[in-house]
């Protein structure tokens, strides 16, 4: 067992003891942890998407080499991972999973949501992506194909969602607010402006 596993085990022991003693509940820890990792984490990815929607040159560089283009925005570096950006079009929708475990572009999206790590999502995303999307409330036109990307420890995928209609006048900051975490995994679409 490595030192890192020991640390993770110690943390689990502390949390489960405190829960057992009713000093805290798992829900409260989940809420706090997710407020910081799920809501705040994906903002980095949203800024990347907003820039790509606003700047064609950046978009081209991003699709050619995701890691390098994100570096222009000061994003990345702390996780040694190569990020490949895949672009949604009216003809093609991209969906990301990791069939082996839960590889995920942490550097841009924070920590993965719990459903991303579930055995059900990991197997169904490949077998029946359209049904999985329906579960997330995403109905694609029948003519739109779905491509599923299987992440690995070396290559992580980030979906560049379609820019919603009616957003022509918005600046990057306003655009970034329309980009959800799920839109960048492919289990959602960018939101329409309010």
């Amino acid at each position: 067992m490595s030192a890192r596993d020991d640390t993770a085990l110690r943390m689990r022991a502390i949390e489960s003891l405190l829960i057992e003693k009713r000093l805290l509940t798992e829900e409260v820890v989940d809420r706090i942890a997710s407020a910081y990792e799920h809501d705040i984490g994906p903002l980095r990815g949203a800024r990347v998407v907003a820039r790509a929607w606003s700047d064609d040159g950046f978009r081209e560089r991003l699709l050619a080499d995701g890691t390098a283009a994100m570096g222009e925005l000061g994003i990345g570096g702390f996780v040694a991972e190569h990020v490949v950006v895949v672009e949604n079009t009216p003809e093609l929708h991209n969906l990301v999973t990791c069939t082996l475990c839960s590889c995920y572009p942490w550097g841009v999206l924070g920590l993965p949501p719990s459903w991303y790590k579930s055995p059900e999502y990991r197997s169904r995303a490949v077998r029946e992506p359209r049904a999985v999307l329906a579960d997330f409330g995403v109905e694609l036109p029948a003519g739109t194909a779905i491509r599923v990307w299987d992440s690995s420890a070396e290559v992580r995928y980030l979906v560049l969602p379609l820019r919603p209609p009616g957003t022509e006048g918005l600046d990057e900051e306003a655009l970034a607010e329309l980009v959800t975490r799920d839109a960048m995994i492919g289990t959602g679409l960018a939101q329409a402006p309010a």
Partner: protein
């Protein structure tokens, strides 16, 4: 000062572009547990923070730097010193979890990430 404000202004937390950075799941749990204890009034945020500062200060130059390892050590110290848990309870809980893991064969095994 609320706990949320204290965190917003806590200068030692690893950040990137102002946002908190967690590199492994246990780190966000360690973060969440400390904040939950402070929010619920079980522990005083300053009592935690003073121990965190002490743990960071005791970091040995030769060791690899790991902010959340210091955070976890501070949390553990706080819980022991405040009498919320005992060392023996912690050891027993670790043994229980280790045995539980050893007997659970069908859970998905995340492979190590390259960072």
């Amino acid at each position: 000062m609320s706990v949320a404000d204290a965190i917003r202004e806590e200068p030692s937390l690893p950040r990137r572009n102002g946002e908190l950075v967690f590199e492994e799941p246990w780190q966000s749990r360690a973060f969440g547990v400390a904040v939950a204890l402070a929010e619920s009034g079980r522990c005083d945020w300053e009592a935690f923070r003073s121990r965190l500062i002490a743990e960071i200060g005791e970091h040995d130059e030769g060791e690899a730097w790991d902010y959340y390892a210091r955070w976890l050590a501070a949390l553990e110290r706080l819980l022991l010193e405040e009498g919320l848990v005992t060392g023996a309870e912690l050891e027993a809980e670790e043994r229980r979890l280790r045995d539980h893991d050893a007997h659970e064969h069908d859970h998905p095994h995340p492979h190590p990430h390259s960072h």
